[in-house]
C-alpha cells in the first residue's frame, strides 16, 4: 500500500521555471545538428485539380537553393500511407496526381534559410487543370458529384452499420419517438506552437533521424518507416522536452515527417521545416464536420429504450489514419451514461475537398454528446418533464459498476447519480429554475443546460478495426489489434536520488511534476529528490505502437507504469535489505522511505543506505541478484481486447464521468450569449495533482466553448478556405473565457495501481452540449432549438429574427 503524502497535493510544477524564463526547449529553439537547411512547402491553390506538370528551373537557379522535391519524387521514392479502411485511397505525403484540398503540399524547396526557401517556392510553377470541387458531405454522395478518388469510384471512404440489441423492437415498443438533424462544425484546437520538424537522412549509415513535436501515437512510426522504405530500426524519432500544445492535432504531423525526411534524403542535407500559421489553418488537421440524423425511442415515463445514429463524417480530401476514428473512437461509450440497450449506428465516412481530419481534443465525443444530450432535452420537452429528471431515470446506477455497455465498453468505476446530484446542488439548480421563471416573466431569455458524459481515457487501439466489416476481420490473414501500454524506468543513484525516465511526449500536462509526486510517495522521498526525463526517443526508450501522449493516457496508463516501476524497485530493495539483515524478506516491508521489520523493531535501511551499498559494493548483493538499482515496467491493460464479431469493443480502458450545468442569458437584439453560471463535476478516479487536473478542465472547457461559439474552418462552395488567419478563425480570448465552478468525485479505477483515470479531454466533450442546451432552453419561448454549431451571433440572430417573424 502506498502512503499518499504527495499524491493528491497541488504540487507546483517543476516545468515552470524553465518555461517562465525563456529556457524551454521547443523544436524551433535548438538546432540538434549543424548546417541546417530550411524547407518551404509549395501548396495547391486549388481545392481540386489535376497536376499536369512542374517547372522548377527558376527555383533551382536561385542562389542558396539545395534542391526542389515535387510530387513526381514523392511518387518515385515513397509509398502511400496505409489507411484505416479497405477503400483504395492512395494517400501520399504530397500530391502526386491530383490536389484534393487547398493547401495540399505539391512541392518542397530546400535552401539555406527559410527566407530564401520561400523566395524559391514562389518561383516553382505547377501546372494545374482545375476540377469541380465539393465540400458538403451530403452533396458529395449525390450522383454526379465530383469524385475525388477515381479508384474508389465515389466519395464514400467507408460505411458501417452497427447494430446492438434489437433497436427495431425498441422503436416499435416506444411511446414516443424523437427525430432531429444536427450539424457539428469543423474545428481544430490550433496549438500556438505549429508543427516543426528537423530531418537528417544519413545515406552512409542508412539511418534517418527526425526531431519533431510529434505527440504519438507511435503506431505512426512504423507506418512512416514503410512509406520511406526504411527498416524501423533505421528510422529514429526524437521528441524534444517541450511541445507547445497539441490537443490531438500534432498526432497528424506524420505525413510531413515523411515529406521532410524525403527532402533530406534527396538533397543530402539536414532539413528543418517550421509550419506557419496559414499552413496550419489550411492543411494541418481538424476534427470532422458531421451531419447527424438522430432518433430516440422512449417510454412515457422518460425511460429511453433505444437510439439510432446516422452519421456523415467529413474527413476531407483523403481518409488519413487514424480516421475513421471520428466515428468509432467512442464505440464503447456510444450510449454514454445511460442504461438503454438497443442501438443502431449507421456511419458513413465521406471525402470532400477540405483539409484532412484526425483526433482533436475529445476525439468525436464532442459530436456524440452534443447530439445525445440534445436528444435527451428534446425528450424532456416532449414529455413535459424536467431535463434533470429524465436523466435521473436513465442513468446507470453505481451498483451496476463495473458496467458492460451494450457496445462492449467496460465502465470500470463510477457513481454517476451522485456526481450528477452534486453538479445540480453546486449550481443550485432549483434556484436557477426560479430565476429563469422570473426572467421569462420579464421577457428575458434565460436558459439552463445540462450535459452528462462518460469520459473515456486511454484508447484501446483495437477500436480502429470497428471500421472494418466483421467478415473482413474474420479472414485468416487478418491480424486482430488491441492494446494500450506505456513504460517507465526508475533508477536510484549511489546517493539515493532518483531519475525517472518516461517515453511520453507531454504538451503542457506537467508529467515531470506528476511523476515526481508518484515516485516520491512510492519511495518515501520528496518530489525534489526525483528528476524526471520525458523526452521521447524511439532508439533509447522502451515503447510500443500505442505509446505517446494522446487519448488522456498519461493520467491512467503512464502513471501506472511509473508506479509499477517504483514498486519493482522497492521489491528489490526489500530483497537486498533482507540479505543484509539476514532475515526473511517476508518479515520486512518498505515504509516511510526505508526497509523495516513489519514488527517495527530493529534496524532499518533507507533508500540512501541501500543505494550506496548496492552501487559501491556489488559483493554485498545476494547471490543471483542483478547489480544496479533500476527497474523498468511496462504497464498494459488486460481489458484492451480486439473488437468481437458483433462489433463490440472496449474502445477505452478507463472511463470517467462528467456532469455539467450551465445557465446563460441571450440578448435577442445582439444574439450575445452571457454565461451566468457554469458548474462541472468530474470523476476521474484518484486525482494526483488537483492543480494540474483543474488546469486541464479549464483548458478543455474553453476548447469546447470555441467550437460551440466561435471556431469553424469555413470553405466556400469551390473549396477555398475562408479562415486562413487568426483574424478569421476566432480563438477565444481571456475576455470570452468563463469562470468555472469545478468539483470532483473520486471513484478510483480498479484497473490502475493508483486508481487514476485520464482527464485531459474533459469538458471539451461536454461544453458544446451544455451550452447548446442552455441556449435552446433560453430561446424555447421563441421555439428555437439549437441543431448547429458554432452559434455565431449572425447565425443565432438569423434564427431569432426568423422565429420572431413567424
Amino acid at each position: 500500500m502506498t502512503e499518499k503524502t504527495w499524491i493528491g497535493k497541488p504540487v507546483k510544477r517543476v516545468e515552470d521555471a524553465r518555461l517562465l524564463t525563456g529556457r524551454g526547449a521547443y523544436i524551433d529553439d535548438h538546432p540538434p545538428v549543424a548546417n541546417l537547411f530550411h524547407a518551404a512547402i509549395v501548396r495547391s491553390p486549388h481545392a481540386h485539380a489535376r497536376i499536369l506538370g512542374y517547372d522548377v528551373a527558376g527555383a533551382r537557379a536561385l542562389a542558396g537553393v539545395a534542391g526542389v522535391i515535387t510530387g513526381e519524387d514523392v511518387a518515385r521514392h515513397t509509398r502511400p500511407f496505409a489507411v484505416g479502411v479497405t477503400a483504395p485511397v492512395h494517400y501520399y505525403c504530397a500530391a502526386t496526381d491530383k490536389a484534393r484540398f487547398v493547401g495540399e503540399p505539391v512541392a518542397v524547396v530546400v535552401a539555406t534559410s527559410r527566407y530564401v526557401a520561400e523566395d524559391a517556392a514562389d518561383l516553382v510553377r505547377v501546372h494545374y487543370e482545375p476540377l469541380p470541387a465539393v465540400v458538403d458531405p451530403e452533396r458529395a454522395l449525390e450522383p454526379g458529384a465530383p469524385v475525388l478518388h477515381e479508384a474508389v469510384g465515389s466519395n464514400l471512404a467507408n460505411h458501417r452499420r452497427l447494430v446492438y440489441g434489437d433497436p427495431d423492437r425498441a422503436f416499435a415498443e416506444a411511446d414516443v419517438v424523437i427525430r432531429e438533424r444536427f450539424r457539428f462544425p469543423k474545428y481544430g484546437s490550433t496549438p500556438i506552437e505549429t508543427y516543426g520538424i528537423v530531418a537528417r537522412w544519413d545515406a552512409l549509415d542508412g539511418v534517418c533521424t527526425v526531431w519533431s513535436n510529434f505527440m504519438g501515437p507511435f503506431i505512426m512510426h512504423p507506418l512512416t518507416a514503410r512509406v520511406l522504405g526504411l527498416p524501423e530500426n533505421r528510422l529514429r524519432f526524437i521528441v524534444p522536452p517541450d511541445i507547445g500544445g497539441s490537443f490531438g492535432i500534432k498526432s497528424l504531423i506524420y505525413p510531413y515527417i515523411a515529406l521532410v525526411a524525403l527532402a533530406s534524403k534527396l538533397t543530402g542535407v539536414a532539413v528543418k521545416w517550421i509550419e506557419d500559421r496559414r499552413e496550419h489553418l489550411l492543411a494541418s488537421s481538424t476534427g470532422t464536420d458531421r451531419i447527424a440524423y438522430r432518433e430516440l425511442a422512449a417510454k412515457k415515463d422518460g425511460t429511453i429504450l433505444g437510439m439510432r445514429f446516422r452519421w456523415l463524417d467529413n474527413v476531407g480530401g483523403y481518409i488519413r489514419s487514424p480516421e475513421p476514428g471520428c466515428s468509432f473512437r467512442p464505440t464503447g461509450n456510444f450510449v454514454g451514461p445511460y442504461r438503454f440497450q438497443h442501438l443502431e449506428v449507421d456511419a458513413s465516412t465521406v471525402m470532400t475537398n477540405k483539409c484532412l481530419t484526425g483526433p482533436n481534443r475529445g476525439y468525436a465525443c464532442g459530436h456524440l454528446y452534443f447530439e445525445t444530450e440534445g436528444m435527451v432535452d428534446r425528450l424532456a420537452a416532449t414529455l413535459g418533464l424536467d431535463p434533470a429528471e429524465v436523466r435521473r431515470r436513465n442513468l446507470i446506477p453505481a451498483s451496476a459498476m463495473p458496467y458492460r455497455s451494450p457496445t462492449g465498453g467496460l465502465y470500470d468505476s463510477g457513481d454517476y447519480p451522485t456526481a450528477f446530484e452534486k453538479a445540480l446542488d453546486l449550481a443550485k439548480y432549483a434556484g436557477l429554475r426560479r430565476e429563469q421563471a422570473k426572467a421569462r416573466a420579464a421577457g428575458r431569455y434565460f436558459g439552463i443546460g445540462l450535459a452528462l458524459a462518460v469520459d473515456p481515457s486511454v484508447s484501446n487501439m483495437g477500436y480502429v478495426a470497428t471500421a472494418l466489416d466483421p467478415q473482413f476481420r474474420a479472414k485468416p490473414e487478418y491480424l486482430p489489434k488491441s492494446g494500450a501500454v506505456d513504460s517507465a524506468t526508475v533508477k536510484v543513484d549511489p546517493l539515493g536520488r532518483v531519475i525517472a525516465i518516461l517515453g511520453t511526449t507531454p504538451q503542457g500536462q506537467g508529467h515531470q511534476t506528476v511523476v515526481s509526486q508518484i515516485v516520491a510517495d512510492e519511495l518515501g522521498l520528496i518530489p525534489e529528490d526525483v528528476t524526471v526525463v520525458d523526452e521521447m526517443d524511439t532508439f533509447t526508450r522502451v515503447w510500443s505502437i500505442s505509446s505517446g501522449t494522446y487519448s488522456s493516457r498519461f493520467g491512467s496508463v503512464g502513471t501506472s507504469a511509473v508506479a509499477l516501476a517504483a514498486r519493482k524497485l522497492k521489491a528489490k530493495l526489500v530483497e537486498y535489505a533482507a540479505h543484509l539483515m539476514d532475515i526473511p524478506a517476508a518479515e520486512l516491508e518498505f515504509r516511510d522511505g526505508a526497509v523495516r521489520r513489519k514488527t517495527g523493531k530493529g534496524p532499518s535501511y533507507t533508500v540512501k543506505d541501500l543505494a550506496g551499498r548496492a552501487h559501491w559494493n556489488t559483493d554485498s548483493l545476494p547471490e543471483g541478484m542483478e547489480p544496479g538499482l533500476q527497474a523498468t515496467a511496462v504497464f498494459g491493460f488486460t481489458v484492451a481486447r480486439a473488437v468481437d464479431a458483433e462489433d463490440r469493443v472496449n474502445s477505452s480502458n478507463t472511463y470517467g464521468f462528467i456532469a455539467e450545468v450551465m445557465a446563460v442569458e441571450v440578448d435577442p437584439e445582439t444574439a450575445a450569449i452571457t454565461i451566468v453560471k457554469y458548474v462541472t463535476v468530474h470523476d476521474a478516479g484518484t486525482i494526483i495533482n488537483p492543480m494540474i487536473a483543474e488546469g486541464q478542465i479549464y483548458g478543455g472547457a474553453l476548447h469546447g466553448l470555441g467550437g460551440a461559439l466561435y471556431e469553424e474552418l469555413q470553405y466556400d462552395e469551390d473549396g477555398q478556405c475562408l479562415t486562413g488567419t487568426f483574424m478569421d478563425y476566432l480563438v477565444p480570448t481571456a475576455s470570452e473565457a468563463p469562470t468555472i465552478d469545478i468539483a470532483h468525485v473520486e471513484s478510483p479505477s480498479p484497473l490502475t495501481p493508483l486508481g487514476s483515470k485520464g482527464l485531459g479531454e474533459s469538458s471539451s466533450m461536454t461544453v458544446p452540449a451544455v451550452i447548446a442546451n442552455a441556449v435552446s432552453d433560453a430561446l424555447a419561448p421563441l421555439g428555437i432549438r439549437i441543431t448547429e454549431l458554432p452559434m455565431t451571433p449572425s447565425r443565432l440572430h438569423a434564427l431569432i429574427k426568423k422565429a420572431r417573424a413567424t
Binding site: 515552470d16 517562465l20 521547443y26 529553439d29 500544445g245 483543474e694 488546469g695 487568426f726
Partner: protein
C-alpha cells in the same frame, strides 16, 4: 540576396548588434541572430501575441516588425525578467497560480501582463481580461493567468520592477 545591414539595439540592458537582411523580422533576428529563443512565433500576423516583447517600454509584436525598425531601441524579452537570479514577481505569480501549461504563449503573456500592470497597476478583472486578450492561450482557459495577474497586482512593491 540583399545587402546586409547592421542593427544595434539594447536587449535586456545589454547592447547587442547583428547584421541581417533588411527584410528580416525582428522576432527572427532575436531568435536566430541573438539566440534569444524565449520569444516565440505563433502566427506571424500579429494576432496570437506569443512574440510580444517590450519595445521602448511598450508591448509590441516582434513578428510584424522588421529588425531594422528596432535599430536603436531598448527591448525587454522574457529572458530579461529575472533579476539577480530570482524570478520576477509576475513570473512567481504565474507559477503559483498555474498560469501556464505548455508555456509557448507564456513569454508573450508575461510581457503583455507587465505592460498592462505598468499602465494600470490596479486593474479590475474585466480590465485584466481585456488586457490579456492580446495574447492567445490554448491550454489554460486563461483562469490561472487572470488569477496570477490579479495576485501580482496586489504584490507589495508591485510588478513594476523590471
Amino acid at each position: 540576396m540583399a545587402e546586409l545591414v547592421t542593427v544595434r539595439l539594447t536587449v535586456n540592458g545589454v547592447a547587442r548588434e547583428g547584421r541581417c537582411e533588411p527584410r528580416k523580422l525582428l522576432v527572427d533576428f532575436l531568435r536566430e541572430d541573438l539566440q534569444l529563443t524565449g520569444t516565440h512565433v505563433g502566427c506571424e500576423h500579429g494576432i496570437c501575441g506569443a512574440c510580444t516583447i517590450l519595445l521602448n517600454g511598450q508591448a509590441a509584436r516582434s513578428c510584424i516588425m522588421l529588425a531594422v525598425q528596432a535599430d536603436g531601441a531598448e527591448l525587454v524579452t522574457v529572458e530579461g525578467l529575472m533579476q539577480n537570479g530570482k524570478l520576477h514577481p509576475l513570473q512567481e505569480a504565474f507559477r503559483e497560480h498555474h498560469a501556464l501549461q505548455c508555456g509557448f504563449c507564456t513569454p508573450g503573456m508575461l510581457l503583455t501582463a507587465l505592460d498592462l500592470l505598468r499602465t494600470n497597476p490596479a486593474p479590475t478583472e474585466a480590465e485584466i481580461r481585456e488586457g490579456l486578450s492580446a495574447v492567445l492561450c490554448r491550454c489554460t482557459g486563461y483562469q490561472g493567468i487572470v488569477n496570477a495577474v490579479r495576485a501580482a497586482a496586489r504584490t507589495p512593491g508591485g510588478p513594476a520592477g523590471a
